[in-house]
């Protein structure tokens, strides 16, 4: 796990995600989810490339049940892109690097 990906909790969600000046990608994940672990290296690689323009964050849905339910997350991995406090885009399921990069570019 890269230190540049910020761990968010229910309490800090609003401050870090919704009130951010930069767009934020939130990776909803859990330790029991294989596909979540499988896409983690892709997310980390893209953080290195786009981390200066977009905040990369993740929420452990096991420990933080409020945020996922607030945004209707019922499947993981789900990546939600927030811009100015609103959902700009969303990807559910395993995603290839190319698709994820396209989505990031679209949000920026």
């Amino acid at each position: 796990m890269t230190e540049n990906i910020i761990e968010i909790e229910d309490d800090s969600f609003e401050k870090i995600v919704l009130k951010s000046d930069k767009p934020v990608m939130v990776d909803f994940w859990a330790p029991w989810c294989g596909p979540c672990k499988a896409i983690a290296p892709t997310v980390e690689a893209l953080e290195k490339e786009y981390g200066d323009r977009m905040t990369f964050a993740k929420v452990n849905v096991d420990e933080n049940p409020i945020s996922p339910s607030k945004f209707g997350v019922q499947a993981i991995p789900t990546l939600i892109f927030f811009k100015n406090g609103e959902i700009a885009d969303q990807i559910t399921g395993m995603v290839a690097k190319e698709k994820l990069e396209e989505t990031i570019k679209g949000v920026l």
Partner: protein, 306 residues
Amino acid sequence: MTTVDYDLVIIGAGPAGLTAGLYAARARMNVLLLEKAVPGGQILITDWIENYPGFPEGISGYDLSEKMKRQAEDLGLKIETAEVHSLNLSEKVKQIILKDRTITCKSLIIASGASPRNLGIGEDKFFGKGVSFCATCDGPFFKEKTLVAVGGGDTAVQEAIFLTKFAQKVYLIHRRDELRAAKILQERAFENEKIEIVWDSVVTGVEGFFAVEGVRIKNLKTSEERTLKANGCFIWIGILPNTSFLNDSLKTDAYGFIVADSKMQTSVPGVYAAGDVRDTPLRQIATAVGDAAIAAVSAEHFIESL
């Protein structure tokens, strides 16, 4: 032969592709493995594997795929993330057309696997909102909820049992009056008090506003229809081959699975198929890795004969 990029290209990094890569790397072939998403394939969405020998306590799909990947990469296998757009197999040198370039190879192993089949009743609008193919990803969102699972094979029965860890009740909808799953799984399902099997029935609709609220089912013997109140619908009714890039370049069966001989060679010499994408009587990790070992050695012999 003119300059060719690779001796061997493998398409797909599930158990079959990773095993073929392992054998090819050990044979010191100039090999590339192409994966469109992330290595692992369907085993990534399998919560627990207990029919692959060597792991008496069982192993998670993710851990097994990581081990397979590491073993192949440690031996020098190169894995690249790229989706194959199409193939040109009409010449001696095979061409693999990607989005941004074309690569050439002397031989090819197709291990692109299969994907879960949809019900095809408009349930796709509830993907990520209660309709799912992955119990290990999405099951824990349904603590104390009621779920519907569809199917009667190994996957359906095993994953329905897994869902009872979270859900208060799981209806297992099956179109026949007996299950196809392995007997050990059937025994566990019958003993599980949270599972109610609905026989001779099919799903005809998924209902809900934002998310799944109910699943409509029909009894095939009586034609009676009713709606089960449920918060999720998990579908395991079989698979379809991942062969959109083939464009009729190889012989397939009626369902699109690639036909291969006992050496895993397809209708085109030097092109092999392994794992779930192949026309085979059984689709397991154990059979996929067996196919792949044969395919890799066949490819090696083929290249030597050129």
